[in-house]
Protein backbone atom coordinates (compact mmCIF):
# COMPACT_ATOMS: atom_id res chain seq x y z
CA UNK A 1 0.00 0.00 0.00
CA UNK A 2 1.24 3.47 -0.87
CA UNK A 3 2.30 5.59 2.09
CA UNK A 4 3.12 9.28 2.38
CA UNK A 5 4.51 10.76 5.59
CA UNK A 6 5.09 14.46 6.00
CA UNK A 7 7.26 16.06 8.68
CA UNK A 8 7.19 18.06 10.76
CA UNK A 9 3.44 18.27 11.41
CA UNK A 10 3.85 21.96 12.20
CA UNK A 11 6.69 24.43 11.72
CA UNK A 12 6.95 27.96 12.99
CA UNK A 13 9.53 30.28 11.40
CA UNK A 14 10.53 33.88 11.70
CA UNK A 15 10.32 35.95 8.54
CA UNK A 16 13.53 35.40 6.58
CA UNK A 17 14.40 32.14 8.38
CA UNK A 18 14.89 29.49 5.69
CA UNK A 19 13.89 25.85 6.30
CA UNK A 20 12.68 22.65 4.65
CA UNK A 21 9.60 20.45 4.79
CA UNK A 22 9.92 16.71 4.25
CA UNK A 23 7.74 14.22 2.39
CA UNK A 24 8.75 10.56 2.69
CA UNK A 25 6.98 8.11 0.44
CA UNK A 26 6.66 4.39 -0.18
CA UNK A 27 5.30 3.30 -3.54
CA UNK A 28 6.02 0.37 -5.82
CA UNK A 29 6.80 2.79 -8.65
CA UNK A 30 6.46 6.55 -8.91
CA UNK A 31 4.63 8.27 -11.74
CA UNK A 32 4.86 11.61 -10.04
CA UNK A 33 4.98 13.48 -6.74
CA UNK A 34 2.89 16.59 -6.21
CA UNK A 35 3.15 19.52 -3.82
CA UNK A 36 0.08 21.57 -2.98
CA UNK A 37 -0.49 24.62 -0.80
CA UNK A 38 -3.70 24.89 1.21
CA UNK A 39 -4.81 28.10 2.90
CA UNK A 40 -7.32 27.92 5.78
CA UNK A 41 -10.84 27.38 4.50
CA UNK A 42 -9.66 26.93 0.90
CA UNK A 43 -9.01 24.06 -1.46
CA UNK A 44 -5.49 22.79 -2.21
CA UNK A 45 -3.61 24.85 -4.80
CA UNK A 46 -1.21 23.04 -7.13
CA UNK A 47 2.46 24.01 -6.82
CA UNK A 48 4.76 21.41 -8.44
CA UNK A 49 4.98 18.00 -10.04
CA UNK A 50 8.24 16.04 -9.75
CA UNK A 51 8.79 12.90 -11.83
CA UNK A 52 12.28 11.53 -11.27
CA UNK A 53 14.98 11.44 -8.61
CA UNK A 54 17.29 14.42 -8.95
CA UNK A 55 14.62 16.68 -10.38
CA UNK A 56 14.14 20.18 -8.93
CA UNK A 57 11.49 22.82 -9.50
CA UNK A 58 11.31 26.39 -8.25
CA UNK A 59 8.63 29.00 -7.79
CA UNK A 60 9.44 32.27 -6.06
CA UNK A 61 10.76 31.35 -2.58
CA UNK A 62 9.91 27.65 -2.93
CA UNK A 63 12.09 24.90 -4.33
CA UNK A 64 11.03 21.26 -4.47
CA UNK A 65 13.50 18.40 -4.81
CA UNK A 66 13.06 14.65 -5.21
CA UNK A 67 15.03 11.54 -4.28
CA UNK A 68 14.01 7.90 -4.57
CA UNK A 69 12.52 7.94 -1.06
CA UNK A 70 11.60 11.51 -0.24
CA UNK A 71 10.94 15.02 -1.40
CA UNK A 72 11.86 18.30 0.21
CA UNK A 73 10.15 21.63 -0.09
CA UNK A 74 12.76 24.27 0.65
CA UNK A 75 11.52 27.69 1.66
CA UNK A 76 14.07 30.48 1.31
CA UNK A 77 13.64 33.72 3.25
CA UNK A 78 9.94 33.07 3.91
CA UNK A 79 7.38 35.83 4.30
CA UNK A 80 4.20 35.79 6.41
CA UNK A 81 2.17 35.22 3.23
CA UNK A 82 3.88 31.83 2.86
CA UNK A 83 1.96 30.65 5.92
CA UNK A 84 -0.24 27.72 4.88
CA UNK A 85 -0.52 23.94 5.05
CA UNK A 86 1.67 22.22 2.47
CA UNK A 87 0.45 18.87 1.16
CA UNK A 88 2.42 16.18 -0.62
CA UNK A 89 0.83 13.47 -2.79
CA UNK A 90 2.14 10.58 -4.88
CA UNK A 91 0.83 8.82 -7.96
CA UNK A 92 1.84 5.16 -8.13
CA UNK A 93 2.93 3.88 -11.52
CA UNK A 94 1.36 0.52 -10.73
CA UNK A 95 -1.95 2.09 -9.87
CA UNK A 96 -4.78 3.59 -11.80
CA UNK A 97 -4.77 6.80 -13.78
CA UNK A 98 -6.66 8.60 -11.08
CA UNK A 99 -5.58 7.69 -7.57
CA UNK A 100 -3.32 9.96 -5.57
CA UNK A 101 -2.19 9.20 -2.02
CA UNK A 102 -1.94 12.32 0.12
CA UNK A 103 0.09 13.01 3.24
CA UNK A 104 -1.44 14.75 6.23
CA UNK A 105 0.37 17.99 5.55
CA UNK A 106 2.76 20.38 7.29
CA UNK A 107 1.28 23.53 8.81
CA UNK A 108 3.76 26.35 8.24
CA UNK A 109 3.49 29.59 10.18
CA UNK A 110 5.80 32.49 9.34
CA UNK A 111 5.88 35.24 11.92
CA UNK A 112 6.74 38.84 10.93
Amino acid sequence: EDQVTQSPEALRLQEGESSSLNCSYTVSGLRGLFWYRQDPGKGPEFLFTLYSAGEEKEKERLKATLTKKESFLHITAPKPEDSATYLCAVHNSGGSNYKLTFGKGTLLTVNP
Binding site: F34, G41, K42, P44, N97, L100, K104
Partner: protein
Protein backbone atom coordinates in the same frame (compact mmCIF):
# COMPACT_ATOMS: atom_id res chain seq x y z
CA UNK B 1 -12.01 30.68 -16.08
CA UNK B 2 -13.70 30.10 -12.73
CA UNK B 3 -11.98 26.69 -12.46
CA UNK B 4 -13.77 24.31 -10.08
CA UNK B 5 -16.73 25.71 -8.19
CA UNK B 6 -18.65 24.07 -5.35
CA UNK B 7 -21.92 24.84 -3.62
CA UNK B 8 -22.90 25.25 -0.87
CA UNK B 9 -19.89 26.49 1.13
CA UNK B 10 -21.41 25.40 4.45
CA UNK B 11 -24.26 23.13 5.44
CA UNK B 12 -25.65 21.67 8.63
CA UNK B 13 -27.70 18.48 8.31
CA UNK B 14 -29.66 16.49 10.82
CA UNK B 15 -29.04 12.76 11.07
CA UNK B 16 -31.00 10.92 8.41
CA UNK B 17 -31.40 13.91 6.07
CA UNK B 18 -30.13 13.83 2.50
CA UNK B 19 -28.42 16.44 0.35
CA UNK B 20 -26.49 16.97 -2.85
CA UNK B 21 -23.14 18.74 -3.02
CA UNK B 22 -22.71 20.47 -6.35
CA UNK B 23 -19.47 20.65 -8.35
CA UNK B 24 -18.89 22.33 -11.70
CA UNK B 25 -15.70 22.86 -13.70
CA UNK B 26 -15.22 25.04 -16.78
CA UNK B 27 -11.84 23.68 -17.91
CA UNK B 28 -13.29 20.91 -20.07
CA UNK B 29 -11.53 18.31 -17.94
CA UNK B 30 -12.54 14.69 -18.42
CA UNK B 31 -11.52 13.44 -14.98
CA UNK B 32 -13.35 14.59 -11.85
CA UNK B 33 -13.03 13.53 -8.21
CA UNK B 34 -14.65 13.87 -4.82
CA UNK B 35 -12.50 13.87 -1.67
CA UNK B 36 -13.18 14.30 2.00
CA UNK B 37 -10.71 15.90 4.39
CA UNK B 38 -10.94 15.21 8.11
CA UNK B 39 -8.84 17.03 10.73
CA UNK B 40 -5.34 15.60 10.94
CA UNK B 41 -5.94 13.21 8.04
CA UNK B 42 -4.94 13.18 4.41
CA UNK B 43 -7.45 13.68 1.64
CA UNK B 44 -9.45 10.51 0.98
CA UNK B 45 -11.00 9.73 -2.40
CA UNK B 46 -14.74 9.05 -2.31
CA UNK B 47 -15.68 8.67 -5.99
CA UNK B 48 -14.18 9.58 -9.32
CA UNK B 49 -15.26 9.87 -12.95
CA UNK B 50 -13.24 9.58 -16.15
CA UNK B 51 -15.93 11.06 -18.34
CA UNK B 52 -19.64 11.70 -18.72
CA UNK B 53 -21.60 8.58 -17.82
CA UNK B 54 -18.62 6.83 -16.19
CA UNK B 55 -18.11 6.77 -12.43
CA UNK B 56 -16.38 4.47 -9.98
CA UNK B 57 -15.72 4.08 -6.26
CA UNK B 58 -12.68 5.41 -4.48
CA UNK B 59 -11.36 4.52 -1.03
CA UNK B 60 -14.35 5.61 1.11
CA UNK B 61 -17.58 5.41 -0.99
CA UNK B 62 -20.01 4.09 1.63
CA UNK B 63 -22.92 6.46 2.26
CA UNK B 64 -22.38 8.44 -0.96
CA UNK B 65 -23.51 8.33 -4.57
CA UNK B 66 -22.49 10.23 -7.67
CA UNK B 67 -23.62 10.79 -11.22
CA UNK B 68 -21.96 12.42 -14.23
CA UNK B 69 -24.37 13.39 -16.99
CA UNK B 70 -22.19 16.18 -18.44
CA UNK B 71 -18.47 16.92 -18.66
CA UNK B 72 -18.90 20.00 -16.45
CA UNK B 73 -20.93 18.68 -13.50
CA UNK B 74 -20.20 16.01 -10.91
CA UNK B 75 -22.69 16.12 -7.99
CA UNK B 76 -22.18 14.10 -4.81
CA UNK B 77 -25.27 12.76 -3.08
CA UNK B 78 -25.41 11.98 0.64
CA UNK B 79 -28.26 9.66 1.59
CA UNK B 80 -29.27 9.24 5.25
CA UNK B 81 -26.60 11.55 6.68
CA UNK B 82 -24.62 10.27 9.67
CA UNK B 83 -22.30 12.10 12.11
CA UNK B 84 -19.34 10.22 10.55
CA UNK B 85 -19.96 12.21 7.36
CA UNK B 86 -19.10 15.47 9.10
CA UNK B 87 -16.13 16.65 7.06
CA UNK B 88 -14.89 19.08 4.45
CA UNK B 89 -15.62 17.89 0.92
CA UNK B 90 -13.49 18.85 -2.06
CA UNK B 91 -14.20 18.37 -5.72
CA UNK B 92 -11.28 18.26 -8.14
CA UNK B 93 -10.67 17.84 -11.85
CA UNK B 94 -7.79 16.93 -14.12
CA UNK B 95 -7.10 16.37 -17.79
CA UNK B 96 -4.86 13.57 -19.06
CA UNK B 97 -2.31 14.74 -21.63
CA UNK B 98 -0.91 12.50 -24.33
CA UNK B 99 2.52 11.25 -23.34
CA UNK B 100 2.32 12.61 -19.80
CA UNK B 101 3.07 10.19 -16.95
CA UNK B 102 0.70 11.98 -14.62
CA UNK B 103 -1.30 15.20 -14.37
CA UNK B 104 -2.14 17.59 -11.61
CA UNK B 105 -5.57 17.88 -10.07
CA UNK B 106 -7.28 21.24 -9.57
CA UNK B 107 -9.44 21.65 -6.51
CA UNK B 108 -12.57 23.59 -5.68
CA UNK B 109 -12.96 25.70 -2.52
CA UNK B 110 -14.74 22.97 -0.56
CA UNK B 111 -18.01 22.40 1.26
CA UNK B 112 -17.94 22.22 5.07
CA UNK B 113 -20.63 19.78 6.20
CA UNK B 114 -21.76 19.16 9.77
CA UNK B 115 -24.17 16.34 10.62
CA UNK B 116 -25.80 16.59 14.04
Amino acid sequence: NAGVTQTPKFRILKIGQSMTLQCTQDMNHNYMYWYRQDPGMGLKLIYYSVGAGITDKGEVPNGYNVSRSTTEDFPLRLELAAPSQTSVYFCASSQPRQGARTYEQYFGPGTRLTVT
